[in-house]
Amino acid sequence: MFPDPVGLFPLNERLSYAHILVHIAAVDGSLVREEVQAIEGYMGKCLIPPGQRDEIRQGFENPKSFGELLNNISDEILQYALRDAIIVASIDGEYDESEIACIREIASKIDMSDEELSKVFDWVKSGWKWNSGYKKFISKNSQK
């Protein structure tokens, strides 16, 4: 929902970033509309050209090798991929073991400790709390 440095990385890095998020969304074998919505939002946020989004969408059904994706992306953008992977994984209400395994793999690639990873999970949780706050200002009950 906010401006983010992810859009400033070279296109090939942004494509890998988006592929990682698609992998996270699809890895538990079920795909909810909110996950698709989030991925579409991330592709927009990092300004992936419309013509290249179709290729990324194909990853929902035929995900790329996760190991290969991690090997073809810099640690700098991988930090953001980790942050956003946790958000994507949280969307359907619970973290699946397969999602956690991928997130741990990313964390390991950037040498993030369990304690640090736990802080990112906490940060995501606090974001959900913040995000729900707008509802009371613009609900039907907030009308004159």
């Binding site: 929902m1 859009g7 698709v36 579409e40 939002g41 927009g44 946020k45 974001g127 009308q143």
Partner: protein, 143 residues
């Protein structure tokens, strides 16, 4: 980027929502990369059809009037559009007078309470702080 209920709205309402954001993005006749990124993000979140996306991107080049946008905007779609209009207006760190006037006009059109825009701006500031905490957390890992 946290998902929300925009995608649950009927397609025409999502289109009206996105049209208002195109208006907001061009409100000061400038379009920064940050504003473009936020606009594209919200467009993605709305899950519009490719054809509708093209129409909305065209609206970015030739923005509709506010009146045209408001004519099609009511109920939940309008309230979500106001929320995201506030986020977009604040994207450059400052909500100028023209932007503020438009936000108030949208709020008035939707029949929201007078303090609605102020409360949304406060909520937005909290959100930016949350994002900043996220950056600080990631940056601390590099040390």
């Amino acid at each position: 980027m946290l998902p929300d209920t925009v995608h649950k709205l009927p397609r025409e309402e999502r289109f009206a929502y996105a049209k208002l954001l195109a208006f907001i993005a061009r409100i000061d006749n400038e379009l920064t990369v940050d504003e473009m990124a936020m606009f594209e993000q919200r467009l993605g979140t709305a899950l519009l059809s490719p054809n509708q996306r093209d129409m909305i991107r065209a609206a970015l080049k030739n923005p509709p009037t506010l009146e045209e946008c408001l004519d099609d905007l009511h109920g939940e779609a309008g309230r979500l559009a106001l929320r995201d209009a506030v986020l977009m207006a604040a994207a450059d760190g400052n909500v100028d007078e023209d932007e503020r006037d438009v936000l108030e006009e949208i709020s008035e059109h939707l029949g929201l309470k007078e303090e609605a825009v102020d409360l949304l701006l406060e909520w937005t500031v909290k959100g930016y702080k949350w994002m900043k905490q996220g950056y600080e957390l990631l940056n601390s890992l590099e040390e």
